[in-house]
């Protein structure tokens, strides 16, 4: 079953005066399976955010189609249903928190959807629990750490009972601990709740969590496959303005020096194993 399907998706931002703009998305065909964990990579300006914004009808295609759970995002009357199904978490935690109290912020989505009061209260409690922030229900968001704020933003999305969460570089502004918090949270939601996760990121290492990696380049899907398959293509990634994870790069360099190692090591442990094996230890 697919949750999101784009076909021949083209989008171009309105050009600034005196300039001509290029297609930010240039024929994207992508089918996201329900319950999958997809990591989207790509250098700056490759169209990742633009693609993300098409997934919940913040932008609508200039040409082509985007279907969310079978609903056409271009149809005005599908707007709320599409946005309820596909929640978004953005990069800057401060700019997506609406309320001064955590639980009021989490309630914002369901309130907009006209969910009855009692049900909202249940959802808020459950969502905060799902992200491990139930102790902070009555806290002021601006006093929380970056990772905690992002988890609140995720809870705000969960409260709308979505099918899918899109995280657009949501870990980019966080410290390593905060990043881990967010990754653990989305991994839990994906594994235990069956929520589809689309994680847009700069950090190659985050691709380890995925069952599928999509690499964007100039508004097109440049690579698409299993993480191991994509991340070990050091040269191809470099040509797309990305660098393979350090472990893969190290093994790649060793291989270039004549070592007999396989590149498939995304964790430091695997990498060490490979080297040990090659050394015959």
């Amino acid at each position: 079953m697919e949750i999101i399907k784009t076909s021949e998706l083209v989008y171009r931002y309105p050009a600034e005066e005196g300039e001509t703009s290029q297609n930010a998305l240039d024929g994207v065909d992508l089918t996201i399976e329900k319950g999958s964990f997809v990591v989207v990579l790509g250098h700056n300006g490759s169209g990742k955010s633009t693609l993300a914004k098409h997934m919940n009808a913040v932008l609508t295609p200039a040409a082509g189609k985007v279907l969310v759970d079978g609903l056409d995002t271009a149809e005005e009357e599908n707007l709320l249903e599409v946005r309820r199904r596909v929640g978004m978490v953005f990069q800057n935690p401060d700019n997506q928190i609406v309320a001064n109290v955590v639980e009021e912020d989490v309630a914002f989505g369901p309130e907009n959807l006209g969910v009855p009061t009692e049900e909202i209260q249940k959802r808020v409690t459950a969502s905060l629990k799902a992200v491990g922030m139930e102790k902070f229900a009555d806290h002021a968001p601006h006093m929380l750490s970056g990772g905690q704020k992002q988890r609140i933003a995720i809870a705000g999305v969960i409260a709308m009972t979505p099918e899918c969460i899109v995280l657009d570089e949501s870990t980019a502004m966080l410290d390593p601990a905060g990043r881990q918090e967010v990754l653990d949270t989305v991994q839990y939601l994906n594994r235990e709740r069956g929520i589809t996760v689309i994680l847009i990121t700069h950090h190659m290492n985050e691709a380890v969590y995925a069952d599928r990696v999509v690499v964007m380049d100039h508004g097109k899907v440049a690579m698409d496959g299993a993480p191991m398959e994509i991340l070990t293509q050091v040269e191809r990634l470099r040509a797309l303005g990305l660098s393979a994870p350090p472990t893969v790069q190290l093994l790649h360099a060793l291989r270039g020096a004549g070592w007999d190692v396989s590149l498939s090591a995304l964790t430091v442990e695997d990498c060490a194993d490979q080297i040990c094996r090659a050394l015959g230890a």
Binding site: V58, L79, F90, N95, N100, P116, T117
Partner: protein, 269 residues
Amino acid sequence: MLKDITLGQYFPGNSVAHRLDPRTKLILEVLYIVALFSANDWFVSYAFLALVLAGAIAVSKVPVKSLVRGLKPVVIIVCFTGIINLFWTPGETVLFSWWIITVNLEGVYRAFFMVIRIVMLIMGTFLMTYTTSPITLTDGLETLLGPLKKLRLPIHELSMMMSIALRFIPTLIEETDKIMSAQKARGADFETGSVLQRAKAMVPLLVPLFISAFRRADELAVAMECRCYHGGEGRTKLRVLRYQGIDYAAFAIGILVIAVIIALRYLNV
């Protein structure tokens, strides 16, 4: 300096004042302001109102220190009002006269009570914002002004704007602090020099602040849309406002206070 700006800050708690309905607090606040401005310019009335304020502070369990700290940024306005009243009040009993400046007894009284009035007004308002979460407060305002929606006034939009403004005050203060530190590290000086020099020093502070505020507004608008925000129509609430026993009690006290103030005015004491 910026840390002193406490406007719109909320101290979570569970006192009686915290539990009052925001509409009650808003109405009482209005009654309190009416009382302050209709009070007889004499010590009895203000002593009585001070007592009322002290009682409210005690009930709310808000530390007096933070209320006083909230006064700091408005000291200039208070002094200014005091001085204007001191020199520009017509009166007979001249105490002091030099060149074009005359100070008379009426002016002294007037200035004194005006200052007291403003200080008490600010403390009372802070007491309300300290004990009410901004969203609850704007919720209360929206409900109170709800009937005006029939006149096509954008009440929901206004209250949403207000609550977002309040939500972003701490964020923008933090940001201002950061930019200030960054500019200071590059040798900017915000604290010394003439007023004009200091105003000039503010320009490199305000420009990045505004740019970032606009960017924030843009991103927030998208984030709100993503969470299905589509205006006030069909919106439900996490908390439905409902008057409780304490609200009726609070109203009774409010009316009593007004009655006393009016009585004191007629008795002219």
